[in-house]
């Protein structure tokens, strides 16, 4: 300790998609705010080091990479966005270990840098509906959400306006429309398949993905350039990230302080005042410890990161972790199932092609268990949506068939047939036995106990997978596709990078960590607004909901602060 005492109005732990939002909202509400990021500093634009590289310019970066991936990136390298062009935005698994039981893998995909995973996220933005917020109450799994759609709707609109979400309005009650920028176009094959599916299956739709890629300039950020290489970083600001959008807005207020390489060890708690007083931090490089004090603490360190911090914040009052009088801290971990679906060929359209690389795909919204009259009975709870995409085969098909010489070269000069792939994303039930705790013996190089993740799929998730495959294949066949085949590459939990639920919201302090405003039931000035807060998982990508909850929680926290309730 250097004897340094730094005090702020608010401390935000984490600079990813929710940390950025918390910082922006807190600063704009007049609070002097400290953002702590455990990873390195990344400067928008300048540090997107591979952004302008062409395929042939990766000349000196390949040495021994396969061995490197196996040694240092055995988990991260399985993520779809990982590659030599983006490796620097993923953690080194060897340097940042965690523990899983034998035979129960969990893939924890992480980006430890300013901006966190908002640099490498998938950018899909869906509103939840009351089908989702009422799901636990309806079937008895988990506890009831303390909020409903009407509580969050204005905050969805608020964040959408700032983020810039492109999309098509569908008028579906279970996938509410938002405030959209113009949608990306479907390609020719997708238009055909869409018509085929919608004609054959009443109530099913195929739409363009709602995505945080700007189809036009927005809020001072440039339009997406259709390069489809977002995870390298985008100096146009064509996709939403903490670095392109929220942190600059926070900085503009003059009230933002950002400290990187600052690993939060724990949240400090004062029993006399029953308040969190600040955080204890370890410098990632020097390993020196220091403390920061704040009147408000926002934990936005990710579902597992936040749980780890709280579990490591013990005191006589909270011997099993801060704000854990419910015993639910770390439990009810969820992810989405994915990696199952069907693919096929879309016949014809040989004289059609695309211009540009659209940074997203298409989507078939949930059609199971909507509570509609006359809908098919299925042998599972909840539902799934399907992410889809079509395109013409490229030169690589040449490696797959005989032929060489002039004939081969001429053939590959033309694009190949149109192919389409459908992949389900299914809801995961909240279950107490899926949890994270701390290893009692092993620590990381900063002396912080390693998280142990215990998570596996249940029968319900397996049943969803099966239905995804069947329905995806049937829809492709109905749409006239040929060579239709199902696939199932069983990714372990974590693979969808939608982990959530370790500090759930709920009405009852006995069964939930957070209340309806993401405020800890036990500690009034402690808020958790990342994925940890989620009470159920829906089947749609969760980031937009995290953002809306964050903005709403800050609004509440600031008003409570002004009323001297915190």
């Amino acid at each position: 300790m250097g004897g340094v005492i730094e005090s702020y109005d608010a401390i935000v732990v984490g600079s990813g998609i929710t940390g950025g939002w918390a910082a922006k909202e807190l600063c704009e509400n007049g609070l002097r705010t400290l953002v702590l990021e455990r990873g390195r500093h990344v400067e928008h634009g300048k540090d997107y080091v591979t952004e302008w590289w062409q395929p042939w310019q990766f000349a000196h970066r390949g040495r021994g990479d396969q061995q490197l991936y196996e040694r240092d990136y055995p988990i991260q390298s399985k993520n779809y966005a990982f590659g030599e062009a983006t490796r620097h935005f993923f953690v080194n698994d060897r340097e940042h270990p965690y523990v899983t039981p034998e035979g129960k893998p969990f893939r924890w995909i992480r980006g430890y840098q300013l901006g966190g995973r908002s640099l490498i996220w998938g950018r899909l933005c869906w509103r939840w509906s009351d089908l989702d917020f009422g799901a636990n109450l309806r079937d008895g799994h988990g506890v009831d959400w303390p909020i409903r759609y009407k509580d969050l709707a204005p905050w969805y609109a608020y964040v959408e306006r700032f983020v810039g979400v492109s999309g098509e309005r569908l008028g579906l009650a279970h996938l509410p429309d938002g405030e959209f920028l113009p949608p990306w176009e479907l390609n020719c094959a997708e238009q055909v398949v869409k018509q085929g599916i919608e004609h054959a299956f009443r109530g099913r739709h195929m739409t363009i993905t709602r995505v945080a890629n700007l189809t036009q300039a927005h809020n001072g950020r440039g339009a997406c350039q259709a390069r489809n290489q977002c995870a390298r970083g985008c100096s146009f600001g064509g996709y939403f990230s903490s670095l392109s959008a929220t942190l600059p807005a926070a900085r503009k207020t003059g009230r933002l302080t950002v400290v990187t390489d600052a690993i939060v060890h724990s949240v400090m708690y004062d029993e006399r005042t029953d308040r969190a007083t600040g955080v204890r931090v370890i410098d990632a490089n020097t390993k020196a410890t220091r403390e920061y004090f704040g009147r408000l603490i926002f934990l936005c360190a990710s579902t597992l990161g936040t749980a780890q911090i709280l579990l490591n914040s013990t005191s006589p009052r909270f011997p099993t972790g801060l704000a854990n009088s419910s015993g639910q801290l770390g439990h009810n971990l969820m992810d989405h199932i994915s990696k199952a679906g069907a693919r096929g060929t879309v016949p014809g359209l040989e004289d059609k092609y695309v211009y540009g690389r659209r940074p997203t795909g298409t989507y078939i919204p949930r059609f199971r268990n909507l509570g509609m009259p006359g809908e098919a009975k299925v042998a599972f709870l909840r539902g799934y949506g399907i992410q889809a995409g079509a395109g013409r085969q490229a030169w690589s098909r040449g490696a797959d068939a005989p032929g060489l010489g002039v004939e081969l070269k001429q053939r590959l000069r033309e694009p190949g047939p149109w192919g389409i792939s459908l992949q389900g994303y299914g809801e995961c039930l909240p279950r107490h036995e899926n949890y994270v705790d701390l290893d009692p013996e092993r620590t990381d190089q900063w002396g912080i106990p390693l998280p142990r993740v215990h998570c596996s799929w249940s029968e319900n998730e397996r049943a969803i997978r099966e239905d995804v495959k069947t329905q995806a294949a049937e829809m492709l066949e109905a749409a006239g596709c040929t060579n239709v085949e199902t696939y199932d590459e069983d990714g372990p939990p974590g693979f969808s990078v939608h982990e959530m639920g370790t500090a759930r919201m709920g009405r009852d302090p006995k069964t939930a960590v957070l209340n309806a405003h993401n405020q800890a039931h036990d500690v009034p000035n402690l808020f958790v607004t990342d994925g940890a807060c989620m009470t159920s998982s829906s089947c749609v990508n969760p980031s937009l909901t995290y953002m809306a909850l964050t903005a709403r929680a800050v609004d509440y926290a600031v008003s409570e602060l002004k009323r001297h309730n915190l």
Partner: protein, 203 residues
């Protein structure tokens, strides 16, 4: 309890990489090739522009260059040799391929030479062009007639062909002269006449 690195076989890693490239490009490339593409393997130069192979002997380099040129020859655009595909293949073998796969490739190269000896009575490089082509046609035919996609160890010629395609179409010549490449498209149009683009996109 084990560390998280005890997660899955590396083959899953490669399969996932393969899936991504397949989704993107629509074809099928072997795991090792994809890993190399993702790793950005390419020819290595010393500052004065000289190049020396690191996995292949100079004779093997010539052999690889000749075979690559057979696979993707010069037409109205330059072929594999001009795109320095042999350098890419050497870099892939040296940097990206595990020792076992590297050895399998080198053995396959030797077998090909032996086959040329049998069919035309000389080393591959000393056979006439048509004789070389006949050897390769036969290898190509065999490589795709057999177990094919799901063979644990792909036939040498499949690997050779894949590496040639990747090395060529990700080169500046392959991407910009043979195919179409738009580094910054600026917009997306979902349904345009193929005539307007003219050729396949490289990426």
């Amino acid at each position: 309890m084990t560390q998280s690195s005890n997660d899955a076989q590396p083959v899953i890693d490669r399969r996932e990489a393969l899936r991504r490239v397949t989704l993107l490009l629509g074809g099928a490339l072997s795991a090792s090739t994809v890993a190399g593409v993702l790793a950005g393997c390419e020819a290595r130069r010393t500052p004065d522009g000289a190049w020396t192979p690191r996995a292949l002997t100079s004779e093997q380099v010539e052999l690889v260059a000749a075979v690559a040129e057979h696979i993707l020859p010069e037409t109205d655009t330059p072929g594999a040799r001009a795109a320095l595909v042999h350098r890419f293949i050497d870099a892939m073998l040296a940097e990206s391929y595990p020792a076992e796969e590297r050895q399998r490739f080198l053995t396959g190269l030797g077998d090909m030479d032996a086959r040329a000896q049998r069919s035309c009575g000389r080393a591959f490089l000393r056979c006439a062009t048509q004789e070389q082509r006949a050897v390769l046609d036969q290898l190509d035919h065999e490589a795709f007639a057999a177990a094919g996609d799901h063979a644990a160890t792909p036939p040498f010629f499949r690997t050779m062909k894949e590496l040639t395609l990747v090395g060529y179409y990700t080169s500046e010549i392959g991407a910009t002269r043979e195919l179409r490449h738009a580094p910054v498209p600026g917009r997306f149009e979902g349904c345009v006449p193929l005539d307007r683009i003219g050729r396949a996109w490289a990426v």
